[in-house]
């Protein structure tokens, strides 16, 4: 396969960026999208040029490092698939591809296709946990949990924190990400004591980081590689309202 790539290049956060065009030759349909970029980078290095910087690590769809806009779609055209698991057989020979970083106020560009997603970490630090110290736990089976609840909590917990939901949203909303964590813990008995504070603190932090709010476009769910449901956003709204009305102290 031969492809023409238009790639966003930007030296660092403070420099202006631009699209540059590259030819990708000798591409096998069995290559992953990132392996295709590896091939392009090997040629760039041999020509004495700077390779295209992009995040990646596990390359099996679970670490959440990778993430690119491919022709305007976060993680590219295949459903439920991270960029590293997207294969070139999803494209046609001779196709032109536009490759850009996540675009969001909360995710400043660090270089080329690499963005700073530390805002997600700060949202988790604000309340995405159950406060239990090591060694203080009771026997695991002392607390039976309905299978349907455990399974539903798992579905929410499957989020890999890649940020595609934010990138796909016209409001750059992080509500799918936040709601997945809030839903996971609110479904489990272990999560009840901190349920209200968690919803309030995580939402507040999300707003401080400059992410927008949900206006029901469902773009996030459509691109989510783990198929996290927007039902959790509805749940988050309920959790947030209930907590706002009943919490003694809305901020810790």
């Amino acid at each position: 396969m031969k492809l023409k790539l238009h790639v966003w290049r930007q030296k660092d956060q403070s420099s202006p960026g631009r699209m540059e065009t590259y030819d990708a030759n000798d591409i096998s349909p069995n290559m992953s999208f990132l392996e295709m970029l590896d091939v392009v980078n090997e040629d760039l290095i041999k020509d004495g040029k700077d390779p295209i910087a992009f995040e990646h690590d596990c390359r099996e769809g679970i670490c959440g490092s990778c993430g690119l806009m491919v022709n305007g779609v976060a993680h590219g055209p295949q459903d439920a698939t991270t960029t590293c698991q997207l294969h070139m057989r999803s494209f046609q020979d001779g196709e032109e591809l536009y490759i850009e970083p996540w675009r969001a106020h909360g995710f400043p560009v660090r270089r080329d296709l690499v963005v700073d997603r530390s805002a997600f970490d700060r949202i988790i630090q604000a309340g995405g946990f159950i406060s239990v110290n090591s060694g203080a736990a009771q026997d695991a089976n002392a607390l039976p949990i309905r299978k349907v609840d455990a399974d539903e909590a798992f579905n929410a917990a499957a989020c890999i924190g890649c940020g595609a939901c934010v990138a796909a949203c016209k409001n750059a909303s992080a509500m799918l990400f936040v709601s997945a964590k809030v839903a996971q813990f609110s479904l489990l008995p272990q999560g009840q004591p901190e349920r209200q504070e968690r919803a309030l603190n995580m939402v507040n932090q999300m707003q401080e980081e400059g992410f927008g709010n949900c206006t029901n476009q469902y773009e996030c769910e459509a691109v989510c590689p783990k198929q996290i449901s927007t039902d959790y956003i509805a749940k988050l709204n309920r959790e947030f309202i209930k907590a706002s009305l009943s919490s003694h102290d809305a901020r810790k």
Binding site: N30, R59, Q125, A137, A140, L143, A153, F154, I160, Q190
Partner: protein, 641 residues
């Protein structure tokens, strides 16, 4: 070099309990006076950093990824072992201990392994309390499945994403401590060197991967939880960034390395497809619960799998190991796959593959049940190969997965450098010559949640540690060394890329220090590696500059260390003149092709000491031994027949 394993005396069952009482404590008010550095944020690093933060120490935690949640523990699929005996199927702490010792082919320490089995149950309790959504039964209690090398069901799991859920649990605890200010987190920061003052580990030199700035951090103790070195083979199931730099730099500073040749080749991975391949993807061992492994009986049989009748198939694991069948341990399953492929019976285009067939299980249980158990793995397989495993057997082949070797540590998880502690896959201690499935997660979390919090207090309370800062000469010297190395890599401007060198090194290692090794091959590798290393330092081309986000430079530094470390691995493989676990020497096998141990001469840990300066490749490596003493277990020939 004096090796004191510090294994407590007394009966096996009470060693840890007694030892915990004998360890010195740091009082709650004094904990805040100590600074601890944790490098790595996987299961071992995150659990240690979180727990030490909870206890009141000042912790700094470092990871090269852009968030601690992305450490490669996240990719573990199948599960975590624990001796809960919730199934009532005959499990016990002693049985988990015994299975692990036997699985490791009698090359691990009894006391360490027993402690691991002992705390295994607490790990599950801890994780459930954190909200980890383990698989449950309709009654609301936790579900279990079985794994290789065991005849009981003791593996707890969260679909095919157990590592992810456990890591997110540890990450949430870590995040809580970061939010509380007890842990200061440094993501996108890579350790380049260890700093010693008066012979003790007192800090590290790091490179900020966003700005390129090289800087130092001082502390009272340093913990390395930096994972394994499987990427020395280039192609492995490890993440692209996993590397040996932290542990190898510590080795060059005087920490001894234990059993570097003990590497695990995982039997069920998706086969290599082309020269461009950048990594290999594991298909969880749990699939062997319901999948049957086979190849055609005839050589060169190119028919489609469905066209090969039952009578012309060889279910070789079931044939050779009737009592464990498809659940034979990893080393045995891998070697058997290699054998049938070497005989010319491999399948697929490359003929380096075997089938993992679910047809019988789908017939017995229905497609829905199989989907519920392994749906995400089947989807992943289809995305990568474009084949539907519900309709056609998976094609699998062994791939490098885990490294049992690592920095030598005593019972307190301290290396031969006072103050330097090593946890998880980065140390050598618990898995002997072969790790059983679902035991890596167990060990990482045991070390971080339940061992290091006790043992590090003993170190801190046991000496007078002068306060030092990073203005100390030792830090300045180490920083200069790291800066010089970066500049050297950038100045070569040769003709070959870092990846091309890494691939070549990987091929040498896979061919000569891989699934089967022999004297000639290893001696050849020991000649080829230094040659390739010289070429690397004369002809590598690293793009960009040092003071910016530069992924080409990051890779170059890691590959430079693999180039030295590979030699140590081959040397260890050459001098261990026996076959055991994942280390199979062609010269030492039984007539039916099984590993032949030599307990008389090799029932020990090979402990390597670096000789030479820190800024040049080793002048030599000196081999010491730590004899393994078995007081409870009788050394037996491992049999899974």
């Amino acid at each position: 070099m004096k090796l004191d394993s510090k294994i407590p005396s007394g009966p096996l069952e009470s060693k840890w309990e007694r030892h915990k009482f004998d360890l010195k404590l740091v009082s709650p008010a004094n904990k805040r006076k100590f600074d601890i550095i944790v490098v790595g944020s996987g299961l071992a690093g995150a659990s240690a950093a979180a727990t030490l933060g909870e206890l009141g120490y000042n912790v700094k935690c470092f990871c090269f990824q852009d968030s601690p949640r992305r450490a490669h523990s996240i990719a573990a699929q199948g599960g975590i072992n624990a001796a809960k005996n919730y199934r009532g199927d005959g499990d016990s702490v002693y049985r988990l201990f015994y299975d692990t010792i036997k699985g490791g082919d009698f090359r691990s320490r009894e006391a360490n392994v027993y402690r691991l089995a002992e705390v295994s149950g607490h790990i599950i309790d801890q994780c459930v309390a954190q909200g980890v959504p383990f698989a449950r039964e309709y009654g609301g209690l936790l579900d279990n499945r079985s794994f290789g090398g065991a005849q009981v069901s003791r593996t707890f799991y969260a679909r095919g994403q157990t590592g992810q859920q456990l890591l997110l649990g540890a990450y949430s605890s870590l995040s809580r401590q970061i939010g509380a200010g007890q842990v200061k987190m440094f993501p996108k920061t890579e350790m380049l060197d260890l700093v010693l003052v008066d012979g003790r580990a007192r800090g590290i030199v790091v490179r900020n991967l966003v700005t390129g700035k090289i800087e130092s951090h001082a502390a009272d103790a340093v913990i390395l939880a930096t994972g394994g070195y499987g990427n020395v083979f280039y192609l492995s199931t490890n993440a692209k960034g996993s590397n040996v730099t932290a542990t190898y730099r510590a080795y060059k500073r005087g920490a001894a390395f234990g059993n570097p040749c003990f590497t695990q080749i995982h039997p069920t991975c998706i086969p290599v497809k082309g020269d461009y391949q950048s990594k290999l993807t594991l298909m969880s061992e749990s699939l062997r619960n319901d999948g049957r492994v086979w190849v055609p009986k005839a050589k060169g049989d190119k028919r489609q799998p469905a066209e090969i009748p039952e009578g012309e198939r060889d279910y070789y694991l079931e044939r050779k190991y009737p009592s464990f069948g498809n659940l034979a341990p990893r080393d045995i399953a891998s070697r058997s796959a290699k054998e049938v492929c070497d005989e010319g019976r491999g399948i697929g285009e490359s003929a380096f593959g075997v089938y993992l067939d679910f047809a019988d299980s789908i017939k017995r249980l229905g497609e829905d049940k199989i989907r519920a158990r392994y749906g995400n793995l089947f989807d992943m397989y289809e995305r990568i190969t474009d084949e539907n495993p519900y309709k056609r057997p998976m094609r699998i082949y062994p791939a490098v997965h885990y490294t049992m070797g690592g920095l030598w540590v005593d019972y307190n998880l301290m290396s031969t450098i006072p103050g330097l502690h090593v946890l998880g896959e980065a140390n050598f201690s618990d898995h002997g010559a072969n790790r059983l499935g679902a035991s890596a997660l167990m060990q990482g979390l045991a070390d971080g949640y339940f061992v290091i919090p006790y043992t590090i207090a003993n170190y801190l309370a046991g000496q007078k540690l002068e306060k030092i800062t990073t203005s100390h000469d030792a830090f300045k010297a180490a920083e200069e060394g790291c800066g010089a190395r970066v500049n050297k890599l950038l100045s070569i401007k040769g003709s070959r890329t870092v990846d091309s060198f890494h691939r070549e090194l990987g091929k040498i290692m896979w061919d000569k220090c891989g699934m089967a090794r022999d004297r000639n091959g290893l001696q050849e590798a020991l000649k080829e590696i230094p040659k390739l290393r010289d070429e690397f330092w004369n002809d590598v081309r690293v793009a960009g500059a040092g003071d910016e986000l530069n992924q080409s430079l990051e890779k170059a530094g890691r590959v430079a260390d693999f180039m030295e470390f590979a030699e140590l691995m081959c040397l260890d493989a050459l001098t261990r003149e026996e076959s055991c676990g994942g280390h199979f020497r062609n010269e030492y096998q039984t007539p039916d092709g099984e590993a032949m141990r030599n307990d008389e001469n090799f029932c020990h840990v090979a402990v390597w000491e670096h000789e030479g300066s820190t800024d040049a490749p080793a002048k030599g490596h000196k081999r010491h031994i730590e004899p393994l003493v078995y007081e409870n277990v009788k050394l037996a020939t491992r049999s899974y027949k």
